[in-house]
């Protein structure tokens, strides 16, 4: 089968580029730990916010050990579009694991200036861990349209020096 030289060269170049891009993404994912979250656990969205045994009935920051925190965040549209809690404060260098779920509809969760960006699905807990090395205020926003209050659904993580 005859293939024109220009076409052959372009195909080879394209395949090489794809391999390089896939390698770069694989290095980031498996060598540097930059991944999207898999479902951490299943919960009942009807009771996740009210069950006393559910961490999301009392959402907030919990210090697991010095410098390590678990942040249980509840996203909701009813009665108002918000994250609970809306604000958290940690010292610089803290490693925070975010456990986020929804009590009603699908939301998103993106922490600006970090690689934390995932879907928040009712009935499912999404988990990501971020280390905050630099002091400052890191806003997090909803990235999945969830109703008329979607645009005002946000929060902040304050990292102190």
């Amino acid at each position: 089968m005859h293939i024109d030289s220009y076409e052959r060269n372009w195909m080879i170049f394209s395949i090489v580029m794809l391999i390089l891009f896939a390698t770069a993404v694989s290095v980031a994912a498996f060598g540097m730990g930059i991944q999207v979250p898999a479902p951490e656990q299943r919960v009942d969205p009807k009771t996740v916010a009210t069950d006393p045994n559910s961490p999301w009935s009392n959402p907030g920051l919990r210090e697991v050990e010095p410098g390590k925190y678990d942040a249980y965040i509840l996203a909701r549209a009813v009665p108002s579009w918000e994250y609970l809690p809306k604000e958290m404060t940690v010292p610089a260098g803290s490693r925070v694991s975010f456990y986020v779920t929804s009590a009603d509809v699908q939301h998103g969760f993106k922490i600006q200036d970090t690689n934390a960006n995932f879907q928040v699905v009712p009935g499912q807990v999404s988990k990501l861990t971020i280390t905050f090395d630099k002091p400052g205020t890191y806003n997090f926003i909803c990235t999945e349209y969830c109703g008329s209050g979607h645009g005002v659904m946000y929060g902040s993580i304050i990292v102190t020096p």
């Binding site: 980031a28 540097m32 930059i34 999207v36 690689n115 861990t129 280390t131």
Partner: protein, 45 residues
């Protein structure tokens, strides 16, 4: 426009090569920029 008066065997698509070169350079530049931002923001595990 590329000249064809010497026959198809010597036809060189210079215009296409130029456009594709610009495309590839732009693609690599943008991809690499975003990749460096991704890597700079740290891990998530």
């Amino acid at each position: 426009m590329a000249k064809k008066d010497k026959g198809d065997e010597e036809f060189r698509p210079t215009g296409t090569i130029a456009v594709l070169t610009i495309f590839v350079i732009t693609l690599i530049a943008i991809w690499a920029t975003i990749y460096m931002i991704l890597v700079g923001r740290g891990g998530t595990l």
